[in-house]
C-alpha cells in the first residue's frame, strides 16, 4: 500500500529554493543512502529526539523513562527499528507526507511549499542532514 503510493518515484529530488538542502534519491519507499554520506551517531540521535526543540516528543512517546513530557498524538516509537528500515525511517523524517499525504508529522528536511514561515525559520529545514542521520541511527536501534 505504502509502496504503491510512492512507487515509481525513483527520482532525484532537485531542491530548487534552499541551497542548504543536499540532494537525495528516493528509491521505492525510502532513501537508501545517508544524506551526509556517512552514518549517524545513535547517542546524539537519542539526545536530539528528547530535545524539545527537535519537536519529536511533543507528539510521540517512546522508551524514555527520564521524561514525563511525551506526547500521544502519534505512535509510540518503541520498536520503530523493527517496523521500518533505515531507508524508510530516513524518508519519513525527510518528508512524512510521502507515506501519508494528510499526516500531521512535519517534514524535517524540506523548506518549500510552506505558508507564513516565521522569520527565524524561513528557507531552512527543521533539522540538518547530520541531525537527520543521527536520529535515523538512533531509531534503527529501537528494537524489541
Amino acid at each position: 500500500m505504502i509502496a504503491a503510493l510512492i512507487s515509481g518515484s525513483l527520482a532525484v529530488v532537485s531542491v530548487a529554493k534552499a541551497d542548504e538542502l543536499l540532494p537525495y534519491n528516493i528509491s521505492g519507499d525510502g532513501i537508501a543512502e545517508s544524506l551526509t554520506g556517512s552514518p549517524g551517531d545513535a547517542a546524539r540521535g537519542r539526545a536530539l529526539v528528547l530535545a524539545r526543540t527537535t519537536t519529536c516528543i511533543l507528539c510521540h512517546s517512546g522508551p524514555f523513562p527520564e521524561t514525563r513530557f511525551q506526547g500521544d498524538l502519534a505512535p509510540d516509537l518503541t520498536g520503530a527499528g523493527n517496523r521500518w528500515t533505515a531507508s524508510q525511517l530516513r524518508l519519513r523524517l525527510v518528508d512524512a507526507s510521502r507515506f501519508n499525504a494528510q499526516t500531521i508529522m512535519p517534514a524535517y528536511y524540506r523548506s518549500d511549499g510552506l505558508v507564513r514561515v516565521g522569520r527565524n525559520f524561513a528557507d531552512k529545514p527543521i533539522l540538518s542532514a547530520a541531525e537527520i542521520e543521527d536520529i535515523v541511527a538512533f531509531l534503527a536501534t529501537l528494537r524489541d
Binding site: F69, L73, I104, V115, F121
Partner: protein, 259 residues
Amino acid sequence: MRVWRAIAAAALLAAAPALLAGEIPIDARRSGYSFMGPDTRAMQDDDTSNPGMLFVLEGEALWGKKTGNAEKSCADCHGDARSSMKGVAARYPAIDKALARPVTLDQRINRCRTNHQQATPLLYESRDLLALSAFVAHQSRGVAISAGDDPQAKPFVEQGRELFMQREGQLNLACTNCHDDNFDRRLAGAPVTQGQPTGYPLYRLEWQTLGSLERRLRSCMSGVRAQAYDYGSPELVALELYLMSRARGLPMETPAVRP
C-alpha cells in the same frame, strides 16, 4: 425496532445544521476548563483566589474614571455595567456599522475612547485595556456565546474558518489539526483542548498575568513557527470571530484561569 431507530437518527441528522468535516458537534463542545486539573479549576472558581479578579476590579475603577478631552467616563454613557454590559462580550467580535467589518471588544473599547472620550487608544495587552475588557466581559459570565449570528458577519466567519483550517509555519500545522482532531490528547505531556475562547481575557499561570485571546492565538502561531499576525489585524479578528461562532452556546467564563 432497530430500523426505526436508524430512520429516526437519519432524520435527525438531516434536520441538524450541516457540520463541516472535522468540526465538533454542538453537544460535544467543551471549554478548556473541563480539561484542567482540580487545582486550576479551584483557582478559577473561587473569586478570592482567581488572580484575574484583580484586573476586573481595576477595570471597574477605570469604568467610572473620567478621561480624555471630553472628560467623560465609560459610566457617563453606559451607566451601570452590571446591566448595560451584560451579554455584550458574548456577541463579540461584532460588526461595526461605520466600518462595515467586525471589531473585537478591545477595539470597541478603543473606539469609544477615541470617538467619545477623545482619549488616546490603549495599547494591546496594556494593563488598562486588559482590565477594562476583563471588567466588561465579566458582566457576561454565564451568558451563552452567540457571536457571528449577524448575517453581515458571515463572510468574516468564513475567512476565520479558512485560517483555522490553513496549515502554516515551519511545522506545517493548522489549528484544526490540534483543536478539532487531537483534543483530549497530550502534546509534550500537556492536555490539548478544543481551543474554545470562553474565558478571555484570562489569567495564564505561564504568563503570570492576564492575556487576550489574540495573545493566545499568536503564541499558537509562534508554536508552529509561523509568522504571527499583528494585534488587531483583520486575520486575527476573523479567527477570533470564527472561534466565538464555533463556541456557540458555551457559557462565558471571564476571567478564566489556565495553566
